[in-house]
């Protein structure tokens, strides 16, 4: 069953007098439990595509069905709801609330889902345990290392049990060793049956995925299956 079905979408921005074709004509399908990397040089439209996939933005033309529901025609509130329930974001810069502890950061999406406080706290704690931060529940971001911060962000993305995890350069701000740990965590998450979409410009990161979409000038240049997939050592093995 495919979660994402995109047909001939285009996105045109108006910058001053000029029209910028960020996406020209993109069609793609992503199935449940796929692990897809989106690659491309800057200006290729990969950020735009990611925003589109994350329901942060709607296409100018074309069809975007998310679990069989058309996103193109959604109102702001419906988009907010789908982002809340179905999509887990992981950002390059973590985007944690600086003055809140790990538990509060993780429970944030559950607040917007209208889940009562006690259940929220419980689920947030469990998500933190799942990413290996059971002993850092009440640390604030500035008391955590970069890798730990990204783990908090991943816990936040997972806590709503979304249909897809959307990671935008998740290792971009991390050193290679920590980056590798994070990639191992993603692998683990994928093995548990989650669907992951990874945006990156680094080949070796992209090779963790099962499939790579290469974008250029707003078009999908290549859609290839990774033959020699890089399977990182599991977290336990790293430690």
């Amino acid at each position: 069953m495919n979660i994402i079905n995109i047909e001939h979408i285009a996105k045109i921005y108006q910058v001053g007098m000029e029209q910028v074709h960020a996406l020209r004509d993109v069609s793609l399908k992503i199935n449940k439990n796929e692990y897809v990397a989106i690659m491309g040089p800057s200006g290729s439209g990969k950020s735009t595509l990611m925003n589109m996939l994350g329901c942060l933005d709607t296409p100018t033309s074309g069809v975007y069905d998310f679990k069989g529901v058309s996103v193109s025609e959604m109102t702001d509130n419906e988009l907010a709801r789908i982002r809340n329930k179905e999509i887990g974001f992981v950002f390059q810069t973590f985007n944690l609330l600086a003055r809140s502890d790990a538990v509060h950061n993780v429970e944030l999406p559950l607040i917007y889902a209208g889940i009562p406080s006690a259940e929220r706290k419980e689920r947030a704690r469990q998500a933190l345990i799942d990413v290996g931060l059971g002993d850092r529940m009440h640390h604030k971001p500035n008391e955590l290392s970069g890798g730990q911060r990204q783990r908090v962000a991943i816990a936040r993305a997972l806590v709503t049990k979304p249909a897809i995890i959307l990671a935008d350069e998740p290792t971009g701000n991390l050193d290679s060793k920590t980056g590798e740990e994070i990639m191992a965590l993603f692998n683990e998450i994928h093995q548990k049956g989650n669907t992951i979409i990874l945006v990156t410009h680094e080949e070796y990161i992209a090779e963790h995925a099962m499939r790579i979409l290469r974008l250029k000038d707003g078009l999908i240049e290549k859609d290839e299956v990774v033959e020699k997939r890089f399977i990182p050592k599991s977290k336990e093995a790293v430690e």
């Binding site: 925003n51 509130n77 982002r83 809340n84 609330l97 944030l108």
Partner: protein, 411 residues
């Protein structure tokens, strides 16, 4: 329903968190609202106090009493016309009293200003009212001690005096005025009565508390040359409802007594409390408008401060807003978050301001009449909430309509 409640509670929690993390900034912002609310509350308690005090004072004049006088209290007529009127004399009073059927009581009054002395103590510029024993029936006087002078005393022009409570406390701090001999001008008078406190300080010399009452005959005898025996006739109606009828009757009788032809204008005026009330109202309304305008201005400055801070806060938290939107916050959630934040800041500032204003007005009450009312408490809460919502609206709206993609990219 429950989801709105939940959202509100979460919004409050988020707002509270934001305030707590920016304590200094929130405190400074609160200061603006604090000052504004303190000023507004203080001003409105002061206005209330002035109002109450004037009303009390005016009502001590009696709402059912007419004052027939050569002068009108409030009139558009040229003053020299009134000056050229004939004096109202004792003969007028005697004829009037014979003819008037409706009044409860009629009394002639002659006022002058005198210095009152007892031993080394003295009170200057005291209103001295000369009248007869009927005078007390035209008033609502209560006595702290003694009585009003009797008919025999007034007919015999005895040197007896009834003194107001202020005069009593100034001349006799120990409260033993009764039967003492005081000096009015150069003349000795015996105190036969002391009034209980009647009116308010704002009426000044017109307040019975600051007056001395003596038989009219003694005024004519001792102080006559200075005011040419012109009197006022105080007429008390049987009831406030009868006031108009009594006034009509009084006008007719006075015209007859004064021998006016039907085409001549009145050469006397019939004054009443109502005129004074409306005159005082016209003064207090100016005080009210000016006062509320000035204090409102300080509240406005506070509100601008809040708006400014909220704009800064929105700008500063652009990425946070982007993140919140990305993970599912709706526009109205963000709107509510910032509105709640500014409202909570204002409400806290307002409540502290309210407490400060109440304490201050209790202190001020010793010099100036103030009156804290329950409606002021509600007023303060409503004002601070409204300020919070109004000044938070534009920044909150800016935050709510941010595009999550741009907001997340904001540096």
């Amino acid at each position: 329903m429950s989801s709105i409640f939940l959202e509100l509670r979460e919004g409050l929690a988020i707002a509270w968190r934001a305030i707590k993390t920016n304590k200094i900034r929130a405190t400074l912002t609160m200061l603006g609202i604090f000052i504004g609310v303190t000023a507004v509350v203080l001003m409105s308690t002061a206005i209330k106090g002035i109002d109450n005090s004037l009303q009390q004072g005016v009502s001590s004049l009696g709402s059912d009493v007419l004052y027939i006088d050569k002068w009108a209290w409030f009139s558009n007529e040229e003053w020299w016309r009134m000056r050229n009127r004939r004096n109202i004399e004792m003969e007028d009073y005697i004829k009037f009293k014979d003819l008037a059927k409706l009044p409860l009581a009629v009394a002639p009054v002659s006022n002058s200003v005198q210095t009152i002395k007892y031993g080394d103590r003295k009170v200057e510029t005291v209103f001295l009212s000369g009248s007869n024993a009927d005078y007390v029936k035209t008033t609502n006087f209560d006595f702290a001690a003694g009585r009003f002078y009797s008919e025999i005393e007034s007919d015999g022009s005895r040197n007896v005096a009834v003194i107001g409570s202020e005069i009593s406390s100034k001349l006799f701090p120990r409260g033993d005025a009764l039967d003492k001999t005081i000096k009015i001008g150069p003349v000795n008078y015996k105190v036969v009565g002391v009034l209980a406190e009647q009116g308010s300080t704002l009426l000044g010399a017109f307040n019975p508390d600051n007056q001395v009452f003596v038989p009219l005959g003694t005024v004519f005898k001792n102080f006559a040359s200075r005011h040419m025996r012109s009197i006022t006739i105080n007429v008390r109606a049987a009831s406030p409802e009868m006031l108009e009828a009594t006034k009509d009757e009084a006008e007719g009788i006075m015209r007859k007594v004064r021998g006016l032809a039907h085409n001549e204008p009145n050469d006397f005026s019939i004054n009443q409390q109502k005129g004074l009330t409306s005159f005082l109202d016209s003064i207090t309304i100016v005080i009210k408008i000016a006062g509320l305008f000035i204090t409102g201005l300080s509240l406005f400055v506070g509100a601008v401060g809040i708006m400014n801070i909220m704009f800064v806060s929105v700008k500063e938290r652009t990425r946070e807003i982007g993140l919140r939107k990305a993970i599912g916050a709706k526009r109205r959630t963000i709107l509510a978050q910032f509105l709640l934040e500014s409202s909570v800041i204002c409400l806290i500032g307002g409540l502290i301001g309210l407490i400060a204003a109440i304490l201050l007005s209790l202190m001020l009450n010793q010099f100036f009449p103030t009156s804290v009312q329950y409606d002021v408490v509600i007023l303060a809460i409503v004002i601070s909430l409204l300020t919070g919502i109004i000044s938070g609206l534009a920044p909150a709206y800016t935050a709510a309509k941010l595009d999550p993609v741009d907001a997340l990219r904001y540096e």
